[in-house]
């Protein structure tokens, strides 16, 4: 009986055009509108690539033949001079990757066409050619990486030149850090086991990897994926989850005698109401999950939205959010004495209001509510969903994320509890 009811509930839900529109089409349409509205903003925010040149082999007259007006940052930028390899206290010779290798490797990564972090459009040329390119204004500057002390040569002091110098400077800083930490580690290992020869290369590689991993981890949690558009997509997910309420409401309306004629017919059948509600709940959830899947597929593959490294947690939160939406719909179906259209209108209005308060039309609203009426967002399932999603990107731990998942489940339990209590009234005063 459960599967029979489940199967037909699925059938009639899938064939209800209005429900399918609100559940499947509307979030996708809204997502596409967000994309059209905000993608230009994102694009404008992206920097243009900086044209640079790298001179790997430096001619004998390095440093003396700069183009007219050009300056070498080795002379002008103290930080670069500070990080030059021969000025460090010095690990064992030849054992640690040289500054030059690290620098070239980093510059190569920053110039990688396939990388999202690409910063430079780089050409590898001789020093003379680099001078000519700089003279003609084809490049913002060039790096002389051949000598013992790498040099950045720029002609002007604009934004591109500053970025170029900063990038090289930071890389050199890392190299210095690796050298210092490697030296310290070697000293420590020497003290602990004097007889065992120290593998300097392994130590330095390990330290370098640790530094890189630390940087990656910091990047993940600094909200680098949380652009304005992403906030909109997260609120869209929250909205799609809560629109599930219309499905739950419709499914429950169909089995209640005081809500529909079909409900009268179903109510006189020998099937327990709890079993019917459970069947409707499961079928509605399946319909919703498919809608969510479509939304994720559309945003990821068509709109190229990057949900970052927390995709499984985003999905888990969406599942909990959908359950909250569904339970809200079931409660609305069981408690509100109004026709189906009125109930659908109410649900959509409440959902939109919830999304608005959680920051759909401007993230400021969420902060305003959090600051002035925190209780409102504590009971607002849309806020629970969006807050859970933000928490993934703002915080290094998942406590707040799990708190929001838990809140959604508690919200769902309360809604379903209220619904079952209301449905226990089996005879009606009027029909």
């Amino acid at each position: 009986m459960f599967f029979h009811h489940f199967k037909y509930t699925l059938k009639y839900l899938f064939r209800n055009r209005l429900l399918i529109f609100w559940t499947y089409a509307f979030p996708i349409i809204l997502g596409a509108l967000f994309y059209l509205a905000f993608s230009d903003i994102e694009k404008n925010e992206k920097m243009d690539l900086i044209d640079i040149a790298i001179v790997e082999e430096v001619s004998d007259e390095q440093g003396s033949g700069l183009p007219e007006g050009a300056v070498s940052t080795e002379q002008e930028n103290g930080s670069l001079e500070e990080v030059s390899a021969d000025q460090g206290s010095g690990p064992p010779e030849g054992a640690i990757p040289t500054n030059r290798e690290l620098l070239l490797e980093t510059m190569e990564k920053l110039s990688d066409e396939d990388s999202e972090d690409r910063l430079f459009r780089t050409v590898y040329v001789s020093e003379k050619e680099a001078e000519k390119l700089l003279e003609k204004g084809k490049i913002s500057g060039y790096l002389l990486a051949g000598g013992e002390t790498p040099k950045v040569v720029v002609k002007e002091s604009g934004i591109n030149e500053t970025i170029f110098r900063q990038a090289v400077g930071e890389t050199m800083q890392n190299a210095k850090l690796v050298a210092a930490l490697t030296e310290a580690e070697i000293e420590r290992q020497k003290k602990e086991a004097a007889e065992v020869p120290v593998d300097v290369e392994t130590v330095s590689e390990k330290i370098l990897r640790e530094i890189q991993e630390e940087q990656a981890s910091i990047r993940d949690t600094t909200g680098s994926n949380l652009s304005y558009t992403m906030i909109e997509y997260y609120t869209l997910i929250a909205m799609a989850c809560l629109y599930c309420a219309t499905i739950g409401m419709y499914a429950v309306n169909c089995i209640l005698a005081n809500m529909s004629k079909k409900g009268m017919r179903i109510s006189v059948s020998p099937v327990k109401k709890g079993r019917l509600v459970l069947g409707s709940l499961c079928a509605s959830y399946v319909v919703q999950l498919l809608g969510l899947a479509l939304l994720f597929i559309f945003t990821i593959f068509v709109l190229k939205v990057d949900y970052g490294p927390h995709m499984p947690r985003v999905i888990l939160l969406a599942l909990a959010g959908s359950f909250a939406g569904l339970s809200m719909g079931i409660a609305a179906g069981a408690l509100i004495q109004a026709n189906e259209t009125a109930k659908t209108g109410m649900i959509i209005a409440v959902t939109m209001l919830g999304c608005f308060l959680s920051g759909m039309m401007g993230i400021t609203m969420k902060y305003v509510i959090d600051k002035n009426m925190p209780v409102l967002n504590k009971v607002n399932p849309a806020a629970m969903i969006t807050d859970g999603l933000y928490a993934l990107y703002y915080y290094n731990t998942f406590h707040r994320y799990w708190f929001n998942v838990g809140s959604l489940l508690v919200f769902s339990a309360v809604m379903i509890g209220i619904s079952f209590f209301a449905l226990r009234r089996q005879r009606y005063q009027s029909l």
């Binding site: 017919r265 179903i266 006189v268 089996q426 005879r427």
Partner: protein, 312 residues
Amino acid sequence: MKNVIEVRNLTKAYKELRAVDDLSFEVHEGEILGLLGPNGSGKSTTINCLLSLLQFESGHIRIFGKEMTPDAYDLKAQIGVVFQDVAVFEELTVYDNIDYFCGLYIGDKNTRKAYVRDAIALTGLEEFVKFYPKQLSGGLLRRLNIACGIAHKPKLIFLDEPTVAVDPQSRNNILDGIRILREQGATIVYTTHYMEEVEILCDRIIILDKGRVIASGTNEELKELTDIEEKVTVEVDRISQEQLAQIKALEHVKEVTNSKNVVSIVYREGEDHFGKLLAFLGKEKIRYHKIYSERPTLNDVFLELTGKELRD
């Protein structure tokens, strides 16, 4: 005779209005009981109380010898209901609708399949199984409504005004189907305000007004409640007030009315009213076009008992 339904002192009120007022009756096994009454007489409310859908103020309802309650699932399994309003899923086809509702009673797939096929045949919906409800005419929709209510072959069937707004062809089909259900052994409670239907269909009739039983019995028993023996109607060219008074003075005449030269004469008792009337028309040289005789109807009974027409 075994009682399938026993209702004792049932009272249901909507605020000040008593929709069902101290109603008592029983339904015998295998019979078709007609609940006849004008709109608002309490027929549907009575049915909804019997089905445990509505709360009621007082009274007892026993079905198949057991107290009917909302969780009396064993009783519900033996009951089929065809509500006054069409109650089907717009999103499901004719076949799916019947299969869905039948499936709430019948778990076994093969049995259900056979039952659904029987219901489709009974209601003459073979050609429309793949249609959606909105593609059906009013009559076909009513037939689908019936099929959904009776597909699980219940022992007791409630039919609440199943022929409202139905074309003559569909009405005949529905009435034939109800007869077949009775032949198959079902007990049927049939509510309507069409007296012709109860006259041709029902074994016993309960006439309701303002939630109370005003008369009950077989068709013949009810007609005996009135002192009308025969009603003769004659269409004449013209007739004077004097001549009408002379007719009124004829033996056994209870009442004479004239509406645009259509004269109705109601006789209390006696025989050969037709011959005597024709003799009078000949003697008075009154030209007539049509003349016909009728036996008293349930409407006459209702009129006699309540002073108003059934369809008022």
